[in-house]
Structure formats: C-alpha cells, structure tokens
C-alpha cells in the first residue's frame, strides 16, 4: 500500500492510501462524530453526522466512507459543517420518541451524546411520529420502532456479521422502518436471539426482554430459595458498567454484590462448565471410538443451537447432546444439590446471569424442564444485573465475595469458556490427559485462541491426531458448516459460538458506544480478563475439579456419560423452519 500526504484542519498527516477520512483524522488526533458507522458492521455513510469538507469536492463528504487521496485538504469543523451535521441530527430527533428519562439507554445513548456534543438546545422540526407498536413477540429481544433512527447498524450485525438477515429496511423515505419481512415480529421469524443487533443499536430501539421484576419478586419471597449462577464472561465485562477499565475481571465484586442483593447462594457456572467438559469429552471419545457422527460440534451457545435448527437441520446429529453449562447446573441444583442441602426443589428458583440474550429463549425450551420445573427459571443479562445493582445503591467496586464452596469449585478450564476457542481448549486439556493417561503440563492450546474468524488446529495426542476447528460469529460458522456439509472439513471436533469473539462479546454484555468499539477490539480486551483468571487458577483442568469428580459424579451421577448423567445433563434438538 502506498502512503499519501494529506492535511486535516491544517495538520499534515501521512496515511495509507485508501484510509478513510475518519481513520486518518483519528491518527491525527482529531475526532469526528459518527452515528451509523460501526466498524466492520455497518459502513454505509448514511447518517451524515461525520460530514467534512474535502477541498475541491462537490459537496460535504461522509468521513466514515470517504477514502483519502494524495494531496487532500480536509476540514472537519466550520460553520457550514457544524450546521449541516446539526440539521441532520435535528431531523433524526424530530420523530424520535424522546423518552430519555425512562429509556433503558439513558446516559448510554449515542443519539443523546451527539445531541449534547452538538449543542442541540431545541429541535426546530416536528416530524410525524411513527405509530408502529413495540414488538415483544420474542422472548429474548424487544424492538421499539418509535425509538429506531433507521441507522441500520442492527441490519449490518444481523446480515453482514451473523449472516442471518431476518431484519432489513422496509419501505422508503420518512416511513422507513427496520424489522422482519411482512410486518412479522422477531419471535415469528428465524431469529436466533443472539442479540448482536442489541449491542449494535446506538439508541434504545433494541433491548433485551427484562426479567428483573420476576427476579426481584423471587428474591423477596421468603418461601423461595433463590440460587444464582454467573457465566464466565459476565465477570469479564460487568466492571465496565461501574467505571472499571475494559478487560478487568470483577469476579469478587460481582459475587459480593449478588450476596448483598439478597440471593441465597451464588454459584459459578464454571463449575458446570467442568461438568460439560466431562460429558462432552466423553461423548467425543465415544464417537471417535465407535464411528459415531463426526465432527462433534459444541452445544453451549444457544444462539448457535437455534441457528442449527433453522438453517442446518441436517447437521443436528453432529451437535453434542450436552445441555449448555448453566442448564446442566440448573438441573444439578434442583436434584443433587437440593438433596444434599435438604431443600425442596419446588422452592428453588434458579437465576442465571448470562452475557447472552439467547439464553432467555433457551431456558424456556420445554426439553429443558423436568416434572414441569424449568432447569433454569430466569436468565438475566449482564446489563440487567448491573441495573439491579444500581437500583440497590450498592457501591459495586467495593463489594467483595466468594462463590459457594466447595460445591461451586471451578477450574481455569471452565473460565475460558467465555472466550472463543475456550471450550475447545478446555476439552483438549481433559481429552489429552485421558488419552495419554498422564498429567500433561503443556495445557495452553494457543492455536485456538484469538479473534481470527475461523481457527483450525491438528493436535497430536498419544500418536493420534485430532483435527479441530473453532468458529465464532455465525458468518464465520457458516463457512465451517458448509465444509462439514460438503465433506471437505474432516475435523473431529468443532466449537461454534454464535457471537463474534464468543460470550465475552455476547448480546447481553455491557454496551460500549461506537466511539469505543470502532477503535478497540472489545473481544480481545475482555478475553484477557478470562485468560488471566485461568492462569491464576490453582486447578486448570476440568477433570481435576474435585467438587465435580468426587462430589457430583461419585456422589450422584456415577461416571461421565452414565445413564443418570444422560438423563440430567443431555438434551434433544428440533428442526425448525427457515420462514
């Protein structure tokens, strides 16, 4: 790539040819406001918030998509530019439902931030308000068309990133709306509930369906025993909601806060991640030894499961029959734990704090119930938990607490489930020890780590080669799945996570604005918190977790893969239509 010399606001800068004005300005230390632009997700230059003057160009240009050429002179602020940006912003505001005070995105809304930054003190225009109703047909995601500003970031997430594309722009001009075809609701189409649209939305048009009230009611009910568990990725991001730096784990603060909120016991989903590894590892070895359906594909990500049911039903036999970790834990808590602790299972309310919106759908699956009791009763996203903590007035950063022990002991292998490649690495740690009969010291499988879309590795264990692949984000997963379908992919074990980066970047995680996400890879930053917790763990292999092996298996289930384990920890899948 050749370098070009340009000036921005009189400042000389040298950048690669083809760099956008937005990126070049950033390199020169100049910030240009954006709204519809979300790097790698939506780059369409539609909202006109980033207008700049390029000397010699016919009109003001959108900095987010305008590639620089040698000799460009660019101005990012002038009366004409400020007025053009502000007018466009006022037009967007003219028909936006401005219920900021009661909006879930209050104080974390990019439209609000821009209004403040551009000094909008009155809105000259009065647009016809959209009268479309709120779409709450999905059990995971709620869509409010009256707050939508039609920036299309959600459409980019759903189509470009996830390759699902169940929403798009409908109609044109002032009556444009974003949604599924033919006026259907998100719950009526082949949406996988991943929530990537939610974390892409700059405003409050897309949110999770909240279970906060139900959980508060349960916590307040003296007849209920409310058991809460937290997924590994939650600790890696919840601190962001309370001003902690991105990538810093807040495990002890989170547990401390949960105890202060009145939950009876706080468990670590990592415990059941270890359980998952024992079951899934056993399943893999059995399929390899008995010519079963291969590759075995992981089943932890409920967005991926629903995707498989809708779009690749022919590959359902490849899916591991393992329930996802929190569902396994839910089942164990209402059986073995209830027995041990002398609690009537009917009184137990299981709450899962998840980085995920798809888990809200998952916990309501009829196949994840026993005797009319759901394994997990409520799923809250990381964001919902943060709201509840704020509601209590708890000083989060000063909280301190420890997960329930020893029942809730967990290994480092369980922690890394939260990042792409983590389940694969955790499984390999255990499978390698089982196949060699040794306690291997080389346990970091770095080939499967990182944010590359598809990762492949061939692992030599005891003279046997296990070929594996890891994909995250459904767009990447599709490439792997098509190769499995065609027979070109000869892997034995494949990990798929619905969200890009894995659970750390799940649809239920704290929402960082584009002004952060465009310049920082959240997936990699949050994963650091996960891997550092793994490195600091005393136990780093699932099969060395004594509370799982001695407790749950010896005390209750028998062997991994036993009939009892199958009954409690495994599930079934259902082919679904694409329309």
């Amino acid at each position: 790539m050749s370098m070009v010399n340009i000036t921005i606001d009189g400042k000389a800068v040298q950048v690669e040819e083809g760099t956008t004005v937005l990126e070049a300005a950033r390199a020169a230390g100049i910030n240009i406001p954006t709204l519809c632009y979300l790097k790698g997700v939506n780059e369409i230059g539609a909202c006109r918030m980033c207008l700049v003057e390029v000397k010699g160009a016919r009109a003001l240009q959108a900095a987010c998509v305008y590639p620089v050429a040698d000799g460009n002179e660019i101005i990012t602020s002038s009366p004409a530019i400020r007025e053009a940006r502000k007018t466009n912003l006022e037009l967007l505001l003219s028909n936006h439902k401005k219920e900021c005070l009661t909006c879930e995105r209050n104080r974390n809304c990019e439209l609000q931030t821009l209004s403040e930054q551009m000094n909008v003190t009155e809105i000259e225009y009065e647009g016809d308000m959209c009268d479309l109703p709120i779409d709450d047909s999905s059990v995971s995601i709620v869509r409010d068309p009256q707050k939508c500003i039609a920036c299309r970031r959600c459409v980019g997430a759903c189509s470009n990133v996830q390759n699902i594309h169940v929403i798009d722009a409908i109609n044109r001009g002032f009556v444009t709306e974003i949604g599924p075809a033919f006026g259907k609701g998100l719950g009526e189409v082949a949406c996988i509930n991943c929530g990537q649209c939610v974390i892409s939305c700059p405003v409050g048009a897309l949110t999770e369906k909240s279970s906060i009230n139900e959980v508060w009611d349960a916590v307040a009910d003296p007849d209920k025993v409310v058991l809460v568990q937290t997924a590994p990725a939650v600790r890696a991001a919840i601190g962001e909601e309370f001003g902690m730096p991105i990538g810093q784990a807040a495990t002890r603060q989170m547990v401390g806060a949960l105890l202060r909120m009145g939950f009876d016991k706080v468990f670590d989903t990592d415990t059941s991640a270890d359980l998952t590894i024992m079951e899934e590892g056993t399943e893999l070895l059995q399929r390899m030894q008995n010519s079963g359906t291969l590759p075995l594909i992981t089943s932890c990500s409920p967005g991926w499961i629903k995707y498989c049911e809708h779009y690749y039903p022919d590959l359902l036999p490849n899916l591991s029959t393992c329930k996802s970790p929190h569902e396994m834990f839910g089942a164990v808590l209402k059986t073995y734990y209830a027995e041990q602790a002398g609690i009537d299972p009917a009184k137990i309310v299981n709450v899962s704090i998840m980085p995920c919106t798809a888990k809200k759908f998952e916990c309501q699956r009829p196949e994840l119930s026993e005797n009319g009791m759901q394994d997990v009763d409520y799923v809250l996203t990381t964001r919902e938990l943060a709201r509840m903590i704020r509601e209590c007035g708890i000083n989060f950063t000063e909280c301190d607490g420890d997960f329930e022990r020893p029942f809730g002991d967990a290994s480092g292998a369980g922690v890394i489930f939260g990042a792409t490649g983590g389940v694969m690495e955790a499984a390999l740690r255990t499978v390698a020890d089982i196949l060699t009969g040794e306690d291997l010291k080389e346990i970091e499988y770095t080939d499967v780590r990182g944010v590359q879309g598809v990762k492949e590795a061939a692992v030599e264990i005891n003279g046997q080669t296990i070929k594996v692949a890891v994909a995250h984000g459904m767009g990447n997963a599709k490439k792997v799945l098509d190769k499995i379908r065609s027979g070109e992919g000869d892997w034995q074990f494949v990990e798929i996570m619905a969200c890009p980066g894995g659970c750390v970047n799940g649809g239920g995680q704290p929402i960082q604005p584009a002004s952060v996400k465009n310049w920082l890879d959240l997936r990699a930053e949050r994963a650091k918190a996960i891997y550092s917790e793994d490195r600091n763990s005393k136990i780093r292999k699932s099969h060395e977790n004594e509370s799982v092996m001695k407790g749950i298996y010896e005390g209750y289930l028998g062997e991994p893969g036993s009939e009892k384990a199958h009954h409690l920890l495994h599930t079934t899948y259902t082919p679904r239509d694409r329309f």
């Binding site: 047909s137 798009d168 722009a169 109609n171 033919f182 009526e188 189409v189």
Partner: protein, 163 residues
C-alpha cells in the same frame, strides 16, 4: 401482529416461478429483474411467492421484502379487476393529481397500494407515464383519462362499477 392473507401457490405456478429464477442463474445482480418477471407472471408478490424466490435464490426474505417495499412498481397485494393508476409525476402533480388520488381513495375506500375487499378495484400511484400534455392523468386497465378534475373521479369509478 401480521395480518397476512393466505395465498395458495399451485405446483404449476411454483414451477414457473422457479423457471424464472433459474433463467437468471448466470446473471449477477438479477434479483430485481426476477421480481419484475415473477410479478408480471403472478400479478403481485405475496409472502408465499417471496419465500419461493428466497429459497431458490438463497437471498434472505427480509432483503427481498426490503426491495419490494422500496420500489413502488412492486406490490405485495393483488391488483383489482380494475387497476387504477394515478400519475404523480412532476407535471401531473403540479396540476393537482395528488387531489385526484385522494378522490379515488375516498371513492373506493382504499389507500394507494391496496385492493378493495371484493377485488374489483385497486389503486396505485405511479410516476410519469409520458402524457404530460394531458396532466393530470389516471389510467384504468390501460385506458387513459386526461385533464382530470376532481369531479371526474366519481363518474369514472361508477362506469367500471356498472360495467
């Protein structure tokens, strides 16, 4: 939340639609042309027809629906036995065709893009039909009515009602 009328697409119709899709298999960017051809054949593009195209062409339904609702030439509703088309091109518009359209909507009790319950009439707003000298213009099943005034609308509608 959806109020969709169920449309039966016969096997023969489906076969023909698939033939149309297939005839463009070597042409990049042919979706809009396919939609035109299928609409010419089927008359309109209901969800059942769009699903067939989506499946065959491997293009998401939301994307197809987005295109169909963007361009006014496409319709998700069947046309009436008498298809009224009011020109909203520049010349007709400045000559008051907006009011003419309103009169048709009022007289027939439907909005542009809709069809009456008995299937007799549908109304569409179209762009310039090339008869600016006759502005404002409306066309009913190919028959052109020019230099319209608002009072003409009732008699035009009645003429087709009685025929």
């Amino acid at each position: 939340m959806s109020k969709l009328r169920k449309v039966d697409v016969t096997e023969e119709q489906k076969k023909k639609i698939l033939e149309i899709v297939d005839s463009y298999k070597d042409t990049e960017g042919s979706l809009i042309q396919i939609l035109h051809d299928v609409q010419d054949y089927f008359g309109y593009l209901p969800i059942e027809v769009q699903e067939i195209i989506s499946d065959a062409k491997k293009v998401p339904l939301a994307e197809i629906y987005g295109i169909v609702t963007f361009y006014t030439q496409f319709s998700t509703q069947p046309k009436g036995k008498y298809a009224v088309s009011v020109c909203l091109g520049t010349a007709c518009y400045v000559k008051g065709s907006g009011k003419i359209l309103e009169k048709f909507e009022e007289n027939l009790g439907i909005k542009a893009g809709e069809v009456t319950d008995d299937g007799m009439f549908s109304i569409d707003a179209c762009r310039c039909v090339g008869a600016c000298g006759l502005a404002p213009v409306a066309i009913v099943n190919g028959e052109v009515y020019g230099k319209l005034v608002q009072n003409d609308v009732k008699s035009i509608c009645d003429k087709y009602r009685e025929s």
